[in-house]
């Protein structure tokens, strides 16, 4: 069970993610962000709850829809914003962008442009922790339901299971993979069923409900820390926005307006706010104060990014290979 402070922190992180994403979209529309940017809005409860339960020494692998994961693992919104704007002060010096946001100081091994790219990497992190370092650190591997149709999903879960690696495979099932629905692409309704082939627990939960997520994740993380191996968790959720920013078909094209409205009514943040007030964990005034503080933070992050220098020309050729430790 989550204590009141945890719940408040999760609430704050969810809101930070939402406000960050809103701002990122604005910047995209202004042409300041390029390429493909995938917005996390609607799925905040999953990253924020996992982030709350993880230690700084734990690691995550992230996805193309990774801003929320980065923030939840303690990522700084100013460095993230600078990365989106391609600036030298960004997390990757401007060379990664939205799809490659990484923060090794906080155990975020990186977002990924390849669907399923983080699955095998999380297994490797599990090897380091369980076999080489023999510590009790764990790795949360985020991925979409679409990734479970890649061959590497099978290979990764199989290896993690036979070696009992401390990995939590956390599938965010938002029902779509670009324009293609789950019904079209999978013979099973629940991704968690796929755990059976690996002899590991497979759990489906409400990905928009912090309280439920907290308990499910807590026990999977405990299990991993105790050397009992991986768990496959499927959190059912929904992305509010298009697949990528600029996807004009997301509303009323391949997804009906009714379906979108139905899911918006399950807004994880509004639900959490209601719970916090009703359980007298905090009052409205405090929540408003949190929101004001976050808005200020995001504005400052944009300012930081806009004022930041572009990478130097020589940076193009740097970091292809390891040469020396950056100071």
């Amino acid at each position: 069970m989550a204590d009141n402070n945890s719940l408040l922190r999760i609430y704050e992180q969810m809101l930070r993610i939402r406000l960050f994403e809103q701002k990122a979209q604005e910047l995209y529309v202004q042409g300041l962000v390029t390429g493909s940017m995938h917005i996390y809005t609607g799925q905040e409860a999953i990253a924020a709850t996992a982030g709350e339960l993880l230690r700084e020494t734990d690691t995550i692998t992230s996805t193309h829809r990774g801003h929320g994961h980065c923030i939840a693992k303690g990522g700084k919104t100013d460095k993230m914003m600078a990365e989106l704007l391609g600036r030298k002060t960004g997390y990757c010096g401007g060379k990664g962008g939205s799809m490659h946001m990484a923060d090794f100081t906080r155990g975020n091994l990186g977002a990924n442009g390849m669907v399923g790219g983080g699955l095998a990497i999380s297994v490797g992190a599990g090897i380091t922790n369980a076999i080489i370092k023999k510590n009790d650190s764990v790795t949360v591997c985020f991925f979409g339901e679409g990734a479970t149709n890649e061959g590497v999903f099978h290979e990764s879960l199989n290896l993690a299971a036979i070696w009992k690696l401390p990995v939590i495979f956390l599938c965010e099932n938002n029902l779509y993979q670009v324009f293609t629905s789950v019904a079209e692409s999978m013979p099973v309704k629940d991704v968690s069923i796929r755990a059976i082939s690996y002899g590991i627990p497979g759990i489906t939960c409400d990905g928009n409900d912090v309280l439920e997520l907290y308990d499910v994740l807590d026990s999977a993380i405990e299990r991993a820390r105790n050397g009992q191996g991986p768990t496959l968790i499927e959190a059912k959720t929904y992305r509010w926005e298009g697949h990528y920013t600029g996807d004009g078909y997301a509303r009323g094209g391949y997804r009906s307006i009714e379906e979108i409205d139905l899911w918006k009514a399950k807004d994880p943040i509004a639900r959490m706010a209601k719970y916090i007030i009703e359980s007298a964990i905090a009052d409205n005034e405090l929540l408003e104060k949190i929101e004001a503080g976050l808005k200020d933070e995001i504005e400052k992050a944009v300012h930081f990014a806009m004022e930041s220098p572009w990478p130097d020309d020589e940076d193009l050729y740097k970091d292809v290979f390891y040469e020396k430790e950056e100071v």
Partner: protein, 326 residues
Amino acid sequence: MTVIKYSQAIRDAIAEEMRIDQNVFVMGQDVETMGGVFGCTKGILEEFGHDRIRNTPISEAVIIGAGVGGALTGTRMLVEMQYVDFILHAMDQTINQAAKVRYMTGGKATVPLIIRAQQGSGRGNGAQHSQNLEALFCHMPGLKVVMPSTPYDAKGLLKTAVRDNNPVLFFEHKVLYNTKGEVPDTDYTIPFGKADIKRSGKDVTVIATSWMVLKALEAAEILEKQGIDAEIIDPRTLVPLDKETIINSVKKTGRAVIVHEAHEVCGIGAEIAFIIMELAIDWLDAPIKRVTSAQAPIPYSSKLEKLTIPSVDRIIDAVKEVMYIK
């Protein structure tokens, strides 16, 4: 003639070939829905139905592997990689299976497989969504490699690809989808292995591929004002490669610049330069120059991305260098 977009040229070629041959089957990620992410399969589902075009799960290995299996059993498999970068999930299927099965079976197998893939930088998509991978496939015997630069070439070459009985890698460019050009209203095809002289000139030969053809043409306009007459050659297919057109041009101009967006090391430019060296060294008046992307992954930051992609200015500089003009 009608002026259409590159993406529509692709779509028209697919539809026309599907009308001609009942055995053409299209599959790939999101190809059915909303006409695909780049609109290249718009209207195909409506006209041909779900037994001629299918959305697949995100499973590149089986998209290409089943492409091989379908082809071996008589279906003309027209499969799509949304971004070429994703084909790296399916290299076994492409290189160990598709490329070799005819040879390994002593010519018993026939593989009418077309892999359409969108590639290239220029839109700030970062290192895993901006690559130009053609050289990897040119290296492997058994694969044909096509890189159209105009709507006319895209349509004519895709129709040829669909009729070919070999695995064909058909590389479209993300930046070109919205470019326009004239396309005949009647059925036509363009043979593989036939380069196109996009602009004739007498002073220097510029061999360019895909998007770089447009940049080379732009450079040629500027060079003309400075009294330099560049000939721009688009090989259009890298396998098979039209050596003759390239060599004839170099024998005429005595100078060559090769422009491609892929990285320099072991790129197609190295191959073309070697061919020129073998067949036309006595005609060369200057060393051959290459203009390519830096030997580094494609960076996200728009500033750095611009720096890595061959620019009109870099092409102009290279031309002047081979002409010993300051």
